[in-house]
Amino acid sequence: MAGRSSRSNDRAVVSDNFFEPRSLAVIGASSHPEKVGFAVLANVIESGYQGEVFAVNPKAGVIQEIRCHPDVGSLPHPPDLAIVIVPANAVLETVTRCAGIGVRAGVVISAGFRETGIEGRRLENAVVKAARDGGMRLLGPNCLGIINTALPLNASFARRMPPRGSIGVLSQSGAICTSLIDWARAEGVGFSKLVSLGNGADLVESDFLDALADDTKTNVIAMYLEGVSNGERFFESVRRASRAKPVVFFKAGATTSGARAASSHTGSLAGSESSYEALCRQAPALRAYSVDELIELSLALATQPIPKGPSVALITNAGGPGIIASDACERAGLSLARIAGKTLDELKRFLPPAASLHNPIDLLGTADAKLYGLALETLLADPDVDAVMIILTPQAMTEVAGTADEILRIARGAEKPVVCSFMGADSVEAEVDRLQEAGIPNVAYPDKAMQILGRMYERRLQVMRPRPRAKRFPVDSKAVSSLFHGYVETGATTQLSPEDCREVLQAYGIPYSPLKVASDLAGAKRHAAEMGYPVVLKVMSRQVVHKTDVGGVVLDIRNQRRLASAYDDMISNVRRKMPAAKIDGVTVQKMVPQGRELILGVARDPQFGPLVMVGLGGIYVETFKDVAFRLVPMTPRDAASMLHELKAYRLLSGVRGEPPADIAAVEEVLLRVSQLAGEHPCLSEMDINPLIVYNAGDGCTCVDVRITLGG
């Protein structure tokens, strides 16, 4: 409860003090125009901020017509927000004094902290501690600042203020913020709030995400991320925000080289790609794969209604772009609406005879503004059309301005989304600005425009899905805790013995085939006799990863005589092929009937915590990387959808008369594994390979299991 109430306190501080301060102090205001302290004060004033503004500078008298206070202590009352721009070595004292007089929020723009090394990090930690001890929260340090276009307030050193709009922007890069602002001004895109997170020493992306979720001026949240400070909390915040409005993010550092650059830039380990993908499906959120997609999609979501279905009507004045958009339509998971009945009749009435009446509707190069208008009106009225996309190529007879007027007249306030693709640059530029400023998104290339519509529909699907709860099974969690504790305590190894792995499965009700470890042939014989033939013999050695390759696996051993010869062959094979391998013994397993093979696993993401993986087993997982991931806790829908996501799903559901596999049993194992991973943070990895799945009703069984513990 304490956590929850302090989080709602944080939200109040962010909403009230950071977003809507009634007074603010620029500490480190400067009279030198080349200084950041000058630019920030100028921006605050020029933005038209109506609250009280204090400037603090011990030397200057009056800066930009504002009388300076020599220090924080001489302010007449504590401001709602302190903007700190003093040199790094003076930040600690400034923040301490601010907290001392009761300031509750501060934006530390100053750099020279964690990004500079050990001393900087110590200083940053000390600043955060001083702030927290004094009941003050901080944005930054090393950030661009914060902007609220509605208040209005530009408390940043960005050169200009973005236009007013409804996209709330969070960015972990200050440089991206400044370019976004510049771009937004050029394209007529408006922002509600813009927050540059800097080092995120105190308040982080989730704090501002929570506040933007509640912000009535923000319809869409757009984020530029390089990593998140706490994945599990971020997941919760996205989940909460996504209920209210679309959350779009771009994550930099998706490739190995990118991740390397990101970790050296942020000093944190980026979460895995799989986690971000899983987050999108589960939270849900929309992931943009380029910075322009982040902006274009956010703009479309902020200005247009979300399509209620996948049917798109495509209006064009040229064949080629129409074909490109048609291809993109299918790829984006949309379909071209079927034009028939009343709509078809209507179109026939005013379109030239040579025009194509079927989707894409080609108005021909001679199309004037009026024709565009008629077509748009007709198609928006068709109940079978969920969205309209308009392509315009600037030809000799094209009325670019007039067409834009028609679109603005008809599409504004329509209940269905309209997205334009005015192609080209020079001859359409002015009209594109006009369209975008009025809230009609334009994307220069028709395939990309279609893609944006597809992503908007994705949001529709996400919103439509019910939100089931995570399922909990009655399990023996204590037994597993004490088993894990034993390993952690001795610190001898992080890898559970095969027998202990089975104990874990047993405690969590996950079906497995029996297994025993033997150090010699006599032991192997004893175990085989106890569990009953046929058995499987496998070599145990840390160095042998691919047992089959070195003759380290013998299947279907039916009697003691065969066991003895298999044992001898195996040991000598492994010795010969891998002389460096230390053989720890052998495992004896009950031979299980054949079935369809899956692999299942848990990986612990450094940011997002446990991640459950499933894929088709054997060579498929290595060759096709056909795997699906979900974050823990998983819901029954997650379990079902992750199996569906596999390309190999049809092999489970039954191909060419083959009976379906016991998919329900696999889903249950997935959920039980999710529960296991969620309840035991020290479980860092788990591999079940293979999980043999039998026909529907016959269940499944884990054959080989590996569990790694870690801190």
């Binding site: 964690r114 990004e115 970790s263 830039h265 380990l269 895995s272 610190g491 150090s519 870690g710 801190g711």
Partner: protein, 357 residues
């Protein structure tokens, strides 16, 4: 007066640890125990006098500093050997015997540590089997466990030393062979008339190396968390893969050092995310300030070396497991092993029986 000569067939088998542990345990039982290592391995200078590094440390642990001058007589370094080939030292056996007599005076038990293997010292007539003759002691054979070789080595040593052979102790017995060593192997040895006084199980701590020692051995610089130089490293891993694979790998090993390039911040962060005692950055690249700050905060020392990764790996590999017993923590662990895993009564009885005989 009894003399126990600890010998083995290879270096780094744990003779020094056994010697110091045994001496302390016997003292605990009321015996006055002395120590000697006539043939030294690594000479160091103390008060302008050359002493063996191990012997110096052991003498200190046993509070025998005053006798240090007598503990080691010869170093068979290559330099010395070439000198001896030109001109042999005078009466080396007598010199050793005289020192031994001084050290043994009034003592109950003398523990004499043999050279790196029991042939070494032959040049001076001071190989282990000659020492046994000169000093009149009994031989305790220490063997590092090996699946295939242990039985032959022990039987061979018995044949080699003959009458003066006391019995054997096994060192570094892996857990999976514990039962075998205690039962089948011990029974077989008994049937051959060989006494097994116990087997010391593998101990990662005893094989570990401190961060400071590792850094010194690599000629490297510790650039953060210098106060954690005494942390013990038990194993190493090399980071030459992507971040996710690195995480998977690094989680499998605790108390390790990770070796990677200075420019691989993803691997460095993955190492810091998993149980890692230190990072070695090769190629002379400094890490990103953010990584450096993170490592400092977590108390993980970063060692910067100028070698390439392959050379560094080779050096670290030979450093881990070839460590000396030079830390009170390690001595305590060795004593615990001796208490729990050696049959001291049987050893004393056998020594006594021989002395009586």
């Amino acid at each position: 007066m009894s003399t126990i000569l600890i010998v083995s067939s290879e270096k780094y088998s744990g003779k020094s640890s056994l010697a110091v542990g045994l001496a302390l345990e016997l003292r605990e039982r009321g015996f006055d125990v002395g120590y000697m290592k006539p043939i030294g391995a690594y000479p160091i200078k103390v008060d302008q006098k050359k002493v063996d590094e191990d012997a110096y440390f052991i003498a200190e642990a046993l509070s025998l500093e005053e006798e240090l001058a007598d503990v080691t007589q010869f170093f068979l370094t290559w330099d010395n050997m070439t000198r001896f080939m030109r001109k042999m030292p005078a009466r080396p056996r007598e010199k050793v015997k005289a020192a031994y007599d001084r050290l043994a005076r009034g003592r109950d038990i003398m523990i004499v540590e043999g050279a790196e293997n029991f042939i070494h010292g032959r040049m001076l007539g001071l190989s282990s089997f000659e020492l046994a003759e000169v000093l009149g002691g009994s031989v305790l054979f220490l063997d590092t466990y090996n699946d295939e070789l242990t039985v032959d080595r022990i039987m061979g040593a018995r044949d080699f030393f003959g009458e003066v052979f006391l019995g054997a102790v096994l060192n570094w017995v892996p857990e999976r062979r514990g039962e075998y060593v205690k039962n089948l192997l011990a029974r077989f040895m008994a049937s051959q008339g060989i006494k097994m006084f116990g087997s010391l199980s593998t101990d990662r701590v005893l094989r570990s190396i401190t961060v400071d020692d590792l850094a010194a051995g690599l000629n490297g610089r510790i650039i953060c968390a210098q106060d954690r130089g005494d942390e013990l490293i038990e194993s190493m891993m090399v980071g030459a893969m992507g971040q996710e694979q690195a995480l998977r790998l690094f989680r499998k090993q605790a108390n390790k050092v990770v070796i990677t390039g200075g420019d691989r911040s993803d691997v460095q962060m993955a190492a810091l995310e998993t149980p890692t005692k230190s990072l070695i950055l090769t190629g002379g690249h400094r890490p990103s300030p953010l990584v450096l700050g993170q490592a400092e905060e977590m108390g993980v020392p970063i060692i910067m070396v100028d070698h390439d990764t392959a050379t560094t790996v080779e050096m670290v590999e030979s450093a881990i497991g070839h460590q000396k017993v030079h830390s009170p923590k390690k001595i305590e662990r060795m004593r615990a092993h001796i208490r729990d895993e050696l049959d001291l009564e049987a050893l004393l009885e056998e020594v006594g029986r021989r002395d009586a005989g």
